[in-house]
């Protein structure tokens, strides 16, 4: 396996109202190997989202270093990191442009990290591909290619976000509780679809989840975060031995 992304001694502190330093990521070391599917667990305020924001570049770290394939990317902007990071957010509203249609959104995603020139966008040429792609999800998205995404249901929007993020096969996929805002049935379907895509496209992925079953069922590695630190980092073998009860006990002890 090859190292894809390495976090070295990454710390993020913020100042709260009373000028006290609050450490939300505390000297985190994490090496993500190519092909890893890591499930990330942890209570509220454990630092999971901050970890994601630090990786995607939407938050700059206080100290430490991030290396992508050996290259120092600590000071790369979020826009620049979009070349290798794709992200699906928890809120269905976050992942799509509401006034633009489904196919316009897909077209935007197709150009992830590429130049966007002053040239016609070539929507028609891609329509067939987009239709096929949307049909593969199986929730009727293909009938809504011309619908502004703001009119779609949460489940449809979220599966569109997933399609958009994986369209260009990013080197690293970040899933930030992306099924949490959906009803149980839709949530389960989206999770199955997600897993299927990760396997088919052989993606490297980090997934934050609050569902213990999902954390156990999916992925080949599990990390547990607590107070801005990685408390536990289990490889595939250790993870397979883990039971739901073990996980509950770990959480109890927090």
């Amino acid at each position: 396996m090859k190292e894809l992304l390495e976090l070295k001694d990454v710390t993020k502190t913020i100042q709260n109202e009373s000028d006290m330093n609050n450490t939300i990521l505390d000297h985190v070391d994490l090496t993500i190997e190519q092909g890893d599917f890591i499930t990330v667990l942890g209570g509220n305020g454990a630092g999971k989202s901050t970890l994601f924001n630090s990786i995607s570049g939407s938050l700059s770290v206080t100290s430490g270093q991030l290396a992508y394939k050996g290259k120092n990317v600590t000071h790369w902007s979020e826009e620049k990191r979009a070349r290798f990071v794709g992200r699906v957010f928890q809120d269905p509203k976050m992942g799509t442009a509401p006034r633009m249609t489904v196919e316009e959104n897909l077209l935007l995603a197709l150009k992830r990290g590429k130049k966007r020139p002053f040239l016609p966008r070539k929507l028609k040429e891609n329509r067939k591909d987009f239709e096929k792609l949307c049909a593969s999800v199986g929730n009727g998205l293909e009938d809504h290619l011309d619908t502004p995404t703001g009119h779609l249901s949460g489940g449809q929007r979220q599966s569109l976000s997933l399609l958009m993020t994986t369209l260009t096969k990013p080197d690293l996929l970040l899933l930030d509780e992306h099924t949490a805002a959906l009803d149980p049935k839709t949530s389960k379907r989206l999770m199955t679809l997600t897993n299927q895509m990760i396997q088919e496209k052989d993606l490297t992925c980090l997934m934050i989840t609050h569902r213990m079953e999902d954390a156990l069922t999916y992925g080949n590695r599990l990390i547990l975060m607590e107070n801005g630190k990685i408390k536990l980092d289990l490889n595939e073998e250790e993870k397979n031995k883990l039971t739901l009860e073990d996980l509950f006990i770990l959480f109890e002890n927090e």
Binding site: S56, S58, E78, E79, K80, A82, R83, V85, G86, R87, K93, M94, G95, T96, A97, P98, R99, M100, E104, L107, L108, A109, K111, R112, G113, K114, R116, P117, F118, L119, P120, R121, L123, M164
Partner: protein, 293 residues
């Protein structure tokens, strides 16, 4: 009077479209326009007075407006000054720039050539309408071409969902700068055309013009809902002409033109409140029907 109001409506539409590209697409109000509008007027009039033909003079005005937009854009994105404040700073600074350009508070175009002279054969005001339509066709075509390029789609996405746009690698700061440059270039064009129609440029010519631009957008949106982007730009023409006719009606009713601005604001306020007013009226209607049963 009537034809004149329609002709003015066409020229003000250009301003409305300029404001639309920031206010409705990027979803922030840009106050720079109150400075770039008289700047466009000042640059065009000064250029013509110093012997430059009206057409290149008008192009110079557009460039000046784009420069003003660029400054606001840089203050906002690189200087991290809130966009309203950035606009106010540039608008205020432009007052001095305009005085420097004209070397006096106002400058007349009396006995100088104007862009409208090309169509002197036409009856009164129709020269203005023809030039206005040509300018609108150019502005709308360029904008529509732009909106449907890859760059333009990234621009729309920036206004629609900025965090998504960034996560897809769109340089949202550059998009905002681009929008402000476009919007103020278009605004300056509007200023240059209106100054040539009025026959003068005035350093205070920009006060309250944002209300006129917004009014044409809001009227268009109240009258025509759920239209495509291209149709929306065209409906702003209707909104703008209607607004000028409404103002004309107010004047015809005998109100003092000295106090015209209060009517401008009132008309806009009424249109902005229409969703609320409509809701209020419907409610009273329903309760009345219920009362009868």
């Amino acid at each position: 009077m009537f034809i004149s109001a329609i002709a003015q409506g066409f020229l003000w539409t250009i301003l409305g479209i300029g404001i639309f590209t920031t206010y409705r697409i990027l979803k922030f109000p840009d106050l720079t326009v109150e400075g770039s509008f008289p700047l466009g007027a000042a640059v065009a009039v000064t250029a013509i007075v110093s012997g430059i033909p009206p057409f290149p003079a008008t192009l110079l005005a557009i460039l000046a407006g784009m420069g003003a937009g660029l400054v606001t854009g840089l203050l906002y994105t690189k200087g991290k000054i809130p966009v309203i404040l950035s606009g106010i700073l540039v608008m205020s600074g432009l007052h001095s720039v305009i005085l420097f350009v004209m070397q006096r508070p106002n400058l007349s175009l009396l006995n100088y050539p104007k862009l409208y002279d090309v169509f002197t054969g036409l009856p009164n005001y129709f020269d203005v309408i023809v030039v206005g339509i040509i300018a609108l066709v150019i502005v709308i075509s360029v904008l529509l071409f732009f909106f449907y390029t890859s760059k333009g789609q990234a621009y729309i996405a920036t206004g629609d969902n900025e965090s998504m746009a960034r996560s897809l690698g769109i340089k949202t700061d550059n998009m905002k700068i681009l929008g402000l440059v476009f919007a103020n270039g278009i605004t300056a064009l509007s200023g240059a055309l209106i100054a040539q129609d009025n026959g003068y440029a005035d350093v205070n010519g920009g006060i309250g013009i944002i209300v006129i631009g917004l009014a044409s957008i809001i009227i268009a949106e109240v009258l025509f809902k759920e239209v495509t982007l291209g149709e929306r730009l065209i409906t702003i023409i209707i909104g703008s002409v209607l607004y000028q006719l409404l103002l004309l009606a107010v004047i015809q009713l005998g109100f003092d033109t000295t106090y015209i601005r209060i009517f401008s604001s009132t008309i806009l306020a009424l249109f902005l409140m229409t969703p609320q007013l409509r809701k209020g009226l419907n409610l009273s209607k329903i309760s009345k029907e219920e009362g009868q049963h």
